[in-house]
Every structure is written in structure tokens, then in C-alpha cells.
């Protein structure tokens, strides 16, 4: 059985490398101060897809929506062994919230055609909403399994997985096609392959080409990244970008936490008991 898998990925600012320059005065993100990286949990999703490919056979397509520079994460997907990559880019997609993003991505998935699995990371480290995956599944009207740590079984029509449900694990099953959102506990994402880096390092999307060329010589070598915009997706611009995004940010506040007081706990059983009682009363423990 050969599965057709779609991996959704996002290029995000590396919020693990935050410095003092990371926030602008108005409280928004200063993207120039943070390197752009492959969203970590999307790499876990990609790794899961690659492991399915190694075990059962699969063709993997990675889709990302973003500015032309987001093609870099598609190259990184190629370096790891995916079969096809698609850049979904259009100025009219800018400022999309999760609703608009899922509208565009689900349309792109339909454009690909048939598929068995859609894999994406649980959430992106910039917005941390964990909404796009579930919304895409809703729009495609397919099953979804979220917070997946491990695939227990995969048959031609059915999948069962272990889900991380905070205080335990849940074994859940669904019929294919299905969308999974994958957590960072699922696997250790593989490094890129040296050979594939050397091969695909010159792969470019058309909108990345600064020389205004058509990329025909790249296409001949399989180094032209597929690129779709609102028109080629046949999507109404009104449902994407700012106009398709009902989310409004009301206020951003910079909160600095400061410990003002401290309390000395005696290193005795009584002291520790007292501390525990206090934590239980504050609902830190229950």
C-alpha cells in the first residue's frame, strides 16, 4: 500500500532565539531580529510522514503558505526526502488569521487531489494557537486526530494513534483520510541529507527569482518549486488575507513578572507540609 501524504508546514521566527530586539515598541514581533526557521512541530509531522514512507511506502507533498522566502523550508523538506513541494503565496494572503489560513490551505489540499493523510504540527511557535490543523480538517470534512505522539497501527483504511491528553494517553482510531496534528514527543526529526542538500540547494520558486526569468532551466532539472496563488487556487480573495480574517488584536501588553516577596520554608516535615497545603489552596496542585 502506498499512501499519499500531505504535510503542512510553516516558516516561523525562531522564538527560541529571542533577544532584546525581538519586540518592537508597539509590542509586535520584530521579524528581522529573529532567524526564520521550519516550525519545530511541523518537522515532527514531516518526520512522521517520512517514517510512514520508509515503512509502508508513500509519496509526500509538503505545502507551505507564506511569502516567497518561505520556500526555504520547502527546500529543507526536499533535503529530508519529500517527493513534491508547493509554495502557496500571494500578497492578498498577507495578514491571514487562522480562519483565512485554513481556507487557503484546505483549498490547496483539494487542488492536490486525493490523499490519505494530512500531517501538521500541533501548533506553530509564533502564534501557538493550534487552530489551523483542526480548521483544515473541518473545511475538508475529514476526520482529525490531534496531539498525536505515536502511530499505533496504520491499515489501508484505518489508523490508530496515541494522543497526549495532558494527564494521560489516549488510544484513538479513525478512518482515512485523516488529519493528524503531531507533538514534539512523537520523534526526533532527522537531519537533512548531504546529497539532497547538494542536489536541491538551487531549487527556487518563481517568485524568488530576482532575474525575472521563467525558471525554465531550473524546471528542466527538477529544481523549480511549484507555486500557487489565489488565482491558480481559484479562491475568493475576500475569504483570505485581512478581509477574510475576523480575528482582531485589541491590545498588546508587555508583562514583566517580578518576585516581590519571598518566604522561608523550614527544611522539616512540618515546613514542607505547610508549603504543600498552600500550593493546594492556590490550585497549583490538586
Amino acid at each position: 500500500m502506498k499512501y499519499s501524504i500531505i504535510v503542512l508546514a510553516k516558516q516561523v521566527p525562531d522564538t527560541t532565539a529571542v533577544t532584546a530586539r525581538a519586540m518592537k515598541k508597539d509590542g509586535t514581533l520584530n521579524r528581522t531580529a529573529l532567524p526564520a526557521v521550519f516550525n519545530p512541530e511541523d518537522l515532527n509531522a514531516l518526520e512522521m510522514a517520512l517514517q510512514i514512507k520508509e515503512r509502508f511506502g508513500a509519496s509526500i507533498c509538503t505545502i507551505t503558505m507564506g511569502p516567497p522566502s518561505a520556500a526555504e523550508i520547502l527546500r529543507q523538506a526536499l533535503y529530508r526526502g519529500v517527493d513534491r513541494v508547493v509554495l502557496v503565496t500571494d500578497r492578498r494572503f498577507a495578514a491571514s488569521d487562522t480562519l483565512a489560513t485554513s481556507a487557503v490551505l484546505s483549498r490547496a489540499i483539494q487542488q492536490i487531489g486525493t490523499f490519505d493523510l494530512v500531517l501538521c504540527g500541533r501548533q506553530a511557535i509564533d502564534g501557538n494557537t493550534a487552530q489551523v490543523g483542526p480548521q483544515v480538517a473541518e473545511k475538508l470534512d475529514i476526520n482529525q486526530l490531534t496531539y498525536v505522539e505515536k502511530i499505533e497501527q496504520l491499515h489501508s483504511e484505518k489508523i490508530s494513534v496515541w494522543r497526549d491528553v495532558e494527564r494521560g494517553k489516549e488510544l484513538a482510531a479513525a478512518k482515512l483520510p485523516v488529519l493528524l496534528t503531531v507533538t514534539d514527543r512523537a520523534n526526533l526529526p532527522r537531519p537533512p541529507s548531504a546529497k539532497k542538500i547538494m542536489h536541491y540547494k538551487k531549487a527556487r520558486a518563481k517568485s524568488e527569482l530576482t532575474d525575472g526569468g521563467t525558471g525554465a532551466h531550473r524546471a528542466a532539472k527538477g529544481l523549480l518549486v511549484e507555486e500557487w496563488d489565489a488565482d491558480s487556487l481559484g479562491i475568493d480573495p475576500a475569504v483570505c488575507g485581512l478581509s477574510g480574517s475576523p480575528t482582531r488584536v485589541k491590545k498588546i501588553e508587555s508583562v514583566i513578572r517580578k518576585g516581590k516577596t519571598f518566604k522561608k520554608i523550614a527544611p522539616t516535615d512540618e515546613g514542607i507540609n505547610e508549603l504543600l497545603q498552600e500550593l493546594i489552596q492556590e490550585y497549583s496542585f490538586d
Partner: protein, 578 residues
């Protein structure tokens, strides 16, 4: 974190070394660009490929290997039914290296490799050693694929090289036996040929690094009745059911590297190359590569230890100030850093010479070489081969010794904390300690190197190194080196005049020290043409070297053979009760 891009000195060497000759030899006019999607199409493209590979290696080293090195040090491998089960953290790291297709990097593209020169491979070795010295032992053993590619017949190459390239096989070199350590001529392992021409191996090998490998190169006696090196041939065998691991050694350091005692019971084997050339040709070539890799490993460990010590000295306060501002500590840290950079310069110069040697030999033996070119090539190949043999011994000797005192001083900087297992300093010290023992002890390297110093090969090389336009500061330093060369030349003349091999042996360490350090002085001076910081490094190195050269020259002249003549009385032989 990335162990390539964060290592400024390594990046400096990568960007300032002229690789055009090597790329020319290895890529042969970029003739493979149409055949393989990953072959470079130009010089710039090849350099870009190299840089990317180093970045991936640096990323794996920092993000995957270094995070597990403490676990690797503490979790033992398991020996079960004559086979080894590697510890889980080690397996994870090896898997990452395999997935990145970095386990057969020097193999030609036609066998699935990356066709990288030693220069690149050596950088990868250093990067990985900085993260975990013991993984390097398994990673570095991909070097045996070079011997297969260079000397085995086509069938063997087609059968085994792709397995190295895709990472499904790792290698081991099974040379050492109970009675044959440094003295490999004494190998007793039997290789018998059946009437159908096939070979079988019988015997025991010990201290075999990664002896549980899938593919082993084994040195064995193919000529019954002989007792010397010419009776030995090199064989390839698989680690199948006829090869059992009898024992896993418990070592002081490099715990991740499984050191095995192996028993071969009628193991089917293939002859590599020609009979009787096992020790004299193939093992020598194998050892050149292993020496260079060990030198790079030593530099990697030293860098890790230095980073740890420097970070500690920057954070730790005593007497109300950071300890790095205390003269004794500052002196240790700067001396360590200068020694590491001098060693690194030496490692990559040796790698460059080795690549020229191998590349030219390949070109010489390839088709379509005009007779005129052949003549020049033959002469050059000979020169670079001689230089490679000399430099690999010197660099292995110097860097391994350096790593032992650098890791010791790193611990010293950290005081009591350095001695505790809470910090990795003690592991670096334990790991470094093997480097001047395996792949030929320091004593063996020195004996092998001293010939090249006495016969003038080294002096000729100094001459080449000094033919550079220096600025005023550099000229003053070059003058000091020239003075050192004169001292060395006088010592050489003195010893050549005495015609006493024992005396030469006794002086060899001082001779090799002098020669090696003068050479590193030149290499640092050459580097200082690209950076004013490097001029400071060169100045510190050469200034400190000057009195040491005088001392060592005197030492050589005053050396006598009393340690041999008075041996029994000095060690009080008759008083030793066992």
C-alpha cells in the same frame, strides 16, 4: 548552536585555505555534473557544497550528539551471545549521521559516496569529536572504505562501498593481537586458502575498535612459515556468525566506542589487493588516514575542554573578581588556545598535503594522461607521499600530546569542580588520554618521523613554507624561526655524524618536537597574513618557542646513552620483587 559555524578558527581555515588544486584533482573538470544531481558544476559550487556539509555536520554535532555525550559515556554497551548491542543514545547519534548520509563521505559518487577530499572529512572528524570523541571512532572508521576503493578489486568495491555510503555498514580494522601491538610484523592470525581459491581466517584479535562492525579489514598471515611483515596480507570479511566478540573492554575513556576482542573461526574472507603487501603497503596507507583523524579528534576534544574551561573562568568569581583575570589562569587559557590553533593549522595543512598526494596518485594512474604530464606527476606524487608519511606522524604525535595537557589544564582552571562528574572536564581528560596511545603510540610516531628530519625532507618543506611575503612584524618572527631551523640543522648534523641508532632514538622526541613546532610557527605566520588577531597568536607561539628550541637543541647535544647503560642500577632491577 552549530559546531562548525560557532567554531571561528575552523571557519577561518575553511575560508582562507586555497582548495583549488584539491578540487581540481577530485572533481576532474567537473566531469560528473551531468551524471549526478549532487555533483558540483564549478569551483564555487564545490566550495558551497563543502560549506553546507560542514554546517549539517556542525548541526548534528551540537543538536544531537553533544546533548547525548554524557549518556553515551555512562551507558554501557551489552555483549550478548558473541554480538554487541550498542547503547541507545549511541544508536540515536549514528542513525542521525546515517540519515544525513555522512557515513561514506570520501567514497566516489559511482559507489554512492560524496567524493569528499580528506580536508573536508578531517573537518567533520574534528566537529564530531568536539561533541563526542567516542562517536568519532565509529564515524572515522569509514576511512577504511578508502582502502577498499584504492586497493580492492572491482567486485569487492561494488559489493561493499555502497553499503558504507548508505550507512548500512560500519567498518573496523582488525590489526592488533596479543603479541602484536606496536610490532605488527608479529601478527599470527592465520589466513588459509582453499583449493577453490577462497580464503578463511582463523585466530584472535584484540583491542579492536568497533570490532562489532559489519565489515572488517583483517591483517593475517597468508604465507605459512613466515615470521615477518612480508608474510602478511590484508583481508576483508563480514562480521557474520563466524566472528564472535569474546570480550568488551572496560576502558578509562571513549566509552561509546566498543573495543572488542574478536575470535575468527573459519571466517570467509576476500584478499584485498595483492598478497604480501598487507602490512607494508595497505596498512601503512590505512594508518596515515587514521593518524590524521586521531590528530583531528584530539583537536576536537581540546576545543570542547577549552570552551568549558573558558566559560567557567568567565563566570567564576574568587577574591571578588572573575578568575580569568588572574594571571595564572589567563596564562593557562591563552596558552591552551594558542596550542589548539597551532595544532589545527597543522592538522589541515597535513590534510591538504594528503589530498594532493592521493589526488595526484589517482590522476597518475588514470587514463588519458600525456607522457609529459605523467613524468611531472610522478615526481610530485613521490614528494607529496613522502611528506604525507612524515607529517601524519608528526601531527598525530603533537596533537595527541597537546590534547592531554590541554584537557588537564582545562580541569585545572576549573579546580575542584573540574574534577567532579557534574562537569564534562573529567570526561574530556579521560577521552584525550587514549589519543597518544592508539593508532601508533607517540613513541612510534616519533621514530617514524625522525627519518624525515634527518634526511632533510622537513628542512626542504620549511624552505617552501618560508617563501612568503611577510610584513615587518612577521619578518621579525620569521627570523626567530630561521634561527630555530639553524639549531635544528646543527642537531641533525651532530646526530648524522655520530651514526648511532640508539642515540638517534633517544634524541628523536626532542628532534621531532623542534621540527614540528617550527613548522607550526610558519603555519601560524602564514595565517597571520589574513588576520591581525592571528598575528598575535603567531607572536605568542613563536616567542614562547624560541627559548624552548635552544633548550631542546642543547638537550640533544648533551644526550648520552646512560639510561641504557645504567638501566639496571637506576631502576633497581634486582630490588623489584613481583
Amino acid at each position: 548552536m552549530n559546531y562548525f559555524t560557532d567554531n571561528r578558527d575552523l571557519s577561518f581555515i575553511f575560508t582562507t585555505t586555497d582548495l583549488s588544486d584539491i578540487i581540481g584533482l577530485y572533481e576532474n573538470n567537473f566531469s560528473e555534473k551531468e551524471l549526478y544531481g549532487y555533483a558540483p558544476d564549478s569551483f564555487a559550487d564545490a566550495c558551497e557544497n563543502y560549506r553546507r556539509i560542514l554546517e549539517v555536520t556542525g548541526d548534528i554535532a551540537a543538536r544531537i550528539i553533544a546533548l547525548r555525550s554524557e549518556q553515551i559515556d555512562r551507558e554501557p554497551h551489552i555483549l550478548k551471545d558473541g554480538k554487541v548491542i550498542l547503547s541507545p543514545p549511541l544508536q540515536k547519534c549514528l542513525q542521525a549521521l546515517r540519515q544525513a548520509e555522512l557515513m561514506g563521505v570520501t567514497i566516489s559518487r559511482k559507489y554512492g559516496g560524496l567524493n569528499l577530499p580528506s580536508f573536508l572529512f578531517t573537518m567533520m572528524v574534528e566537529i564530531i569529536s568536539q561533541a563526542d570523541a567516542s562517536i568519532q571512532n565509529i564515524f572515522g572508521l569509514q576511512g577504511i572504505s578508502s582502502i577498499i576503493e584504492e586497493y580492492a578489486d572491482e567486485t569487492l568495491k561494488q559489493k561493499y562501498l555502497p553499503r558504507f555510503a548508505d550507512g548500512s555498514a560500519t567498518g573496523a580494522m582488525a590489526l592488533t593481537e596479543d603479541e602484536a601491538g606496536s610490532d605488527l610484523q608479529n601478527v599470527k592470525m592465520k589466513a588459509g586458502q582453499h583449493s577453490d581459491g577462497t580464503w578463511r581466517l582463523k585466530g584472535v584479535k584484540r583491542f579492536i575498535t568497533n570490532g562489532c562492525a559489519e565489515v572488517l579489514l583483517v591483517l593475517a598471515r597468508s604465507e605459512p612459515g613466515t615470521t615477518d611483515g612480508l608474510g602478511l596480507s590484508l583481508f576483508l570479511c563480514e562480521g557474520d556468525s563466524t566472528v564472535t566478540v569474546r570480550r568488551l573492554e572496560e576502558k578509562m575513556g571513549i566509552h561509546g566506542s566498543p573495543t572488542c576482542e574478536l575470535s575468527f573461526q573459519d571466517t570467509p574472507a576476500y584478499l584485498i589487493g595483492e598478497r604480501q603487501r598487507g602490512l607494508v603497503t595497505y596498512v601503512l596507507a590505512l594508518l596515515n588516514g587514521a593518524r590524521l583523524a586521531t590528530a583531528a579528534q584530539a583537536v576536537g576534544i581540546s576545543q570542547a575542554a577549552f570552551n568549558e574551561a573558558q566559560a567557567y573562568a568567565q563566570a567564576r568569581k574568587q577574591y571578588g573578581r572573575k578568575i580569568e583575570t588572574i594571571p595564572a589562569v589567563a596564562e593557562m587559557l591563552t596558552t591552551m588556545k594558542v596550542a589548539i590553533e597551532a595544532s589545527r593549522a597543522f592538522v589541515y595543512e597535513t590534510a591538504r598535503i594528503m589530498d594532493l598526494s592521493v589526488g595526484m596518485a589517482r590522476r597518475l594512474h588514470s587514463e588519458n594522461v600525456a607522457p609529459d604530464e605523467k613524468k611531472i606527476l610522478r615526481k610530485k606524487t613521490k614528494k607529496f607521499e613522502r611528506l604525507t608519511n612524515l607529517l601524519t606522524s608528526c601531527v598525530k604525535y603533537y596533537c595527541s600530546e597537546m590534547s592531554i595537557w590541554v584537557t588537564r589544564d582545562a580541569m585545572q582552571v576549573m579546580g575542584g569542580s573540574g574534577y567532579m562528574q557534574d562537569y564534562p572536564a573529567e570526561r574530556y581528560y579521560r577521552d584525550a588520554r587514549i589519543t597518544n596511545i592508539y593508532e601508533g603510540t607517540s613513541q612510534m610516531q616519533v621514530l617514524s618521523a625522525v627519518k624525515g628530519i634527518l634526511n632533510g625532507t622537513m628542512e626542504k618543506y620549511f624552505e617552501e613554507c618560508s617563501h612568503v611575503e611577510w610584513n615587518r612584524n612577521q619578518r621579525a618572527l620569521a627570523k626567530k624561526l630561521l634561527h630555530g631551523r639553524k639549531l635544528l640543522a646543527a642537531a641533525v648534523e651532530h646526530l648524522n655524524g655520530r651514526k648511532d641508532n640508539q642515540l638517534v632514538d633517544l634524541c628523536s622526541r626532542n628532534l621531532v618536537d623542534m621540527a614540528t613546532e617550527i613548522l607550526m610557527g610558519y603555519l601560524l605566520l602564514q595565517q597571520s597574513r589574513h588576520s591581525s588577531r592571528k598575528e598575535k597568536i603567531a607572536r605568542m607561539f613563536i616567542t614562547k618557542l624560541e627559548p624552548i628550541l635552544i633548550m631542546k637543541a642543547r638537550h640533544i647535544k648533551s644526550t648520552d646513552k646512560r639510561c641504557l647503560q645504567d638501566y639496571a642500577q637506576i631502576v633497581e632491577k634486582e630490588a623489584i620483587v613481583k
